[in-house]
């Protein structure tokens, strides 16, 4: 089996690969968004704690 035949999918290539593209795009986004969120949350919380700590020390 050669590769161009595989990508062509018997003439249905566009439909098949678009479907698979959507599947992996949506699942990939679903994976990456919480990771980004986690990162921003970490920095945000660290800053927040640093501020409260400083305030405590000052008072």
């Amino acid at each position: 089996m050669n590769w161009s035949e595989f990508w062509n999918m018997g003439g249905y290539g566009f439909y098949v690969w678009f479907s698979y593209g959507t599947f992996f795009l949506v699942l990939g986004l679903g994976l990456i968004m919480p990771m980004l969120k986690r990162r921003s949350l970490e920095t945000e919380l660290r800053e927040q704690w640093a501020v409260t700590k400083r305030r405590k020390r000052e008072s």
């Binding site: 249905y12 439909y15 959507t22 986004l29 679903g30």
Partner: protein
């Protein structure tokens, strides 16, 4: 108390759950990746073309598992929401709300892949078929739940309200499905049957089943990942959260 119930009670503690999720999410994620590679290899290279639909049927290996997940996640979300509403368990509320976006994502994938399967098979991206229509309504219900959760200020109130909406939807989904099915039989002849009458050949069935398990593992990974974020956000003023994020400073 026996071991299992004890473990269950422990899971209700946000701190324990956070650590538990952090331990298991990567395992689920890597198993998902492995099974997807195996399943799609079998589906794309080993399974023969369908005698009626040719190569286009290979969309089935993602379309059908996604459709199963769209319903499976809804039930899981409602169950978690029920537990959260009745016993007021924070972790259950969070699990329910972490599930909603994943369920919506799978519903969207089901609709899009269905459209791209329908075009070569039925000649149209969209037909008002019973299954398509009820899947679309399911997407709307998911969006309603997510929207309600986002709209309410207080996170716990939001989770409880959205969980209640999910339960109302759970009662309604079978009715909606039945009514839509009834509606299509009234308005049009039977549409092309996607699966065909004959049972599937094992060479096609195995990749399908493997992908069904893989998508479940993706859900497990994703829901734990999202739940961890939500727990951290909700418990940010607790001491354990500080220990988790900055171990050195907390010990000082």
């Amino acid at each position: 108390m026996n071991k299992l119930t004890l473990w269950f009670h422990k899971l209700g503690s946000p701190e324990y759950f956070y650590r538990f999720a952090g331990r298991w999410a990567p395992w689920a994620g890597w198993s998902f990746a492995l099974l997807t590679v195996i399943g799609l290899y079998l589906g794309m290279f080993k399974a023969p073309p369908d005698y009626q639909q040719g190569e286009s049927y290979r969309i089935i290996f993602i379309h059908v598992p996604s459709a199963w997940m769209s319903m499976f996640i809804y039930v899981a979300m409602s169950a978690a929401g029920f537990v959260g509403l009745v016993w007021r368990i924070k972790v259950a509320e969070i699990m329910a709300m972490a599930s909603a976006p994943i369920g919506a994502a799978f519903t969207l994938v089901t609709l899009v892949t269905g459209a791209f399967w329908g075009k070569p098979m039925w000649g149209a991206y969209w037909v008002w078929d019973a299954r398509l229509t009820s899947e679309l309504i399911l997407l709307f219900i998911y969006l309603g739940i997510i929207g309600l959760y986002q709209a309410i200020e207080d996170r716990r109130t939001a989770a409880r309200a959205a969980s209640l909406l999910a339960l109302v939807g759970l009662v309604n989904i079978p009715i909606i499905h039945f009514s839509v099915e009834w509606w299509t039989t009234l308005h049009q002849g039977s549409t092309v049957n996607l699966m065909g009458e004959s049972s599937m050949h094992p060479s096609m069935l195995w990749p399908l089943l493997i992908m069904a398990v893989a998508t479940k593992l993706y859900y497990v990974m994703n829901v734990l990942q999202r739940a961890r974020n939500m727990i951290l956000e909700l418990e940010s003023n607790k001491s354990w959260a500080k220990t988790v994020l900055q171990p050195a400073e907390a010990s000082r």
